[in-house]
């Protein structure tokens, strides 16, 4: 089929007046998107991965033929409910802060006997394959739907990780001199027609974490925050961060703590 390129066809918007002086939420195009976003969220294909993720969590697997039901996501072994909203957090057994997917991967290695190399080889979804950690993190995330984000900051390493995440957020480098803040450090800007939330502000930081993991309409694939942040670095023209690395956990800590106190709605649907 013919397909209009992302950057090309915007004839529709030419027909409608584009009051770019208004805040993004007030323009008619965004309002129309929002209206149907609710329709799309009502039946979100992400639920298919929740179901799959739960199976993967409960079913013995890996070389050790173990399930993940003893995996400690921070609230004790096997406790899934509410865990996602309270991550990233510090884990003494690895002496670092981990986000949900990093922790799931850790459990798949320690409990089930997978190796990091095999899990990190192709960690993101394609049209034909969703890696197991993505399905599992979707299941885990769904068990925090309706809860407030409460990423802990009690442990010194949690504080240090937040501070490091903030440094990474503002770090300007690379061919284009970009930092995360180049796009997400000021209010009311957009790239093309895409509004850019300011993640340094609590009320907007929620938009960094809301709706992830998310079902992406483009390609029809399930993606997690690990993918989202990795792809941000690609667009930032940086080299590639390792899957489940501390750098990614630190950035997630920075944005999640900034969004603490606001309600997580569960896995979402993304453009």
């Amino acid at each position: 089929m013919r397909h209009a390129l992302v950057l090309g066809v915007v004839a529709a918007m030419a027909a409608a007046p584009w009051p770019h002086a208004l805040a993004q939420t007030e323009d008619p195009v965004s309002a129309e998107f929002d209206k149907f976003r609710e329709v799309l969220e009502k039946d979100n294909p992400a639920e298919l991965w929740e179901v799959k993720g739960e199976q993967l969590w409960r079913t013995p697997g890996g070389p050790k033929k173990a399930s993940l039901e003893k995996c400690d996501l921070g609230l004790g072994p096997g406790v899934v409910k509410g865990a996602y909203a309270q991550m990233p957090r510090y884990f003494a057994d690895v002496d670092r802060v981990m986000d949900a997917e990093a922790r799931i991967v850790h459990c798949m290695i320690t409990l089930q006997g997978f190796t990091y190399a095999e899990l990190a080889k192709a960690p993101f979804s394609s049209a034909t394959r969703t890696p197991d950690p993505v399905s599992i993190v979707t299941y885990v995330a769904a068990q925090s739907a309706g809860m407030k984000f409460a990423a802990p900051q009690g442990h010194p390493k949690e504080k240090a990780t937040y501070a490091a995440g903030k440094e990474i957020f503002f770090y300007r480098a690379g061919t284009f001199d970009f930092s995360c803040a180049s796009c997400h450090g000021v209010d009311d800007k957009r790239i093309r027609t895409q509004p850019l939330p300011n993640f340094t502000k609590p009320e907007q930081a929620i938009r960094a974490v809301l709706g992830w993991p998310g079902y992406r309409m483009t390609g029809g694939v399930m993606h997690s925050l690990q993918w989202r942040l990795t792809d941000c670095f690609r667009q930032q023209r940086f080299p590639k961060p390792d899957y489940t690395s501390e750098t990614l956990s630190a950035l997630m800590t920075y944005v999640t703590v900034n969004a603490n106190g606001q309600v997580y709605k569960g896995p979402g649907i993304k453009r």
Binding site: M1, D43, P45, E47, L48, V51, K52, A127, Y215, M217
Partner: protein
């Protein structure tokens, strides 16, 4: 074997609001992977039964979105009734799943 569907059936009076999520690539035959086109692979027919009696049929094309979502409404249902949904695709693959009709809130 194809992944399970997710079916929800909720009563509104004596009408069951049935919502179905299906895991299927719905390949249009136009998508490229590398230099090669991915062959057509899509669900062609869907049928739904209320306690074993067919109440809804659909014939569809590859233009239905990947991981299809459908909703329809079935008359004469009550809580505890069984709703089953079956799809068949162009390769002859098939998947059936079932759920119970739940009272509406």
């Amino acid at each position: 074997m194809a992944d399970p569907m997710k079916i929800r059936a909720t009563l509104q009076g004596d009408v069951a609001d049935v919502r179905v999520l299906m895991a299927h690539p719905m390949e249009t035959g136009q998508r490229k992977q590398g230099d090669k086109l991915v062959p057509l692979h899509f669900i062609q027919t869907i049928s739904a039964q209320l306690n074993g009696r067919t109440v809804f049929n659909a014939d569809i094309s590859q233009a239905i979105s990947r991981n299809p979502v459908f909703a329809f409404k079935v008359k004469g249902a009550k809580a505890g009734d069984k709703i089953s949904v079956t799809w068949t695709d162009n390769k002859g693959e098939k998947r059936s799943d079932e759920t119970e009709v739940r009272a509406g809130s």
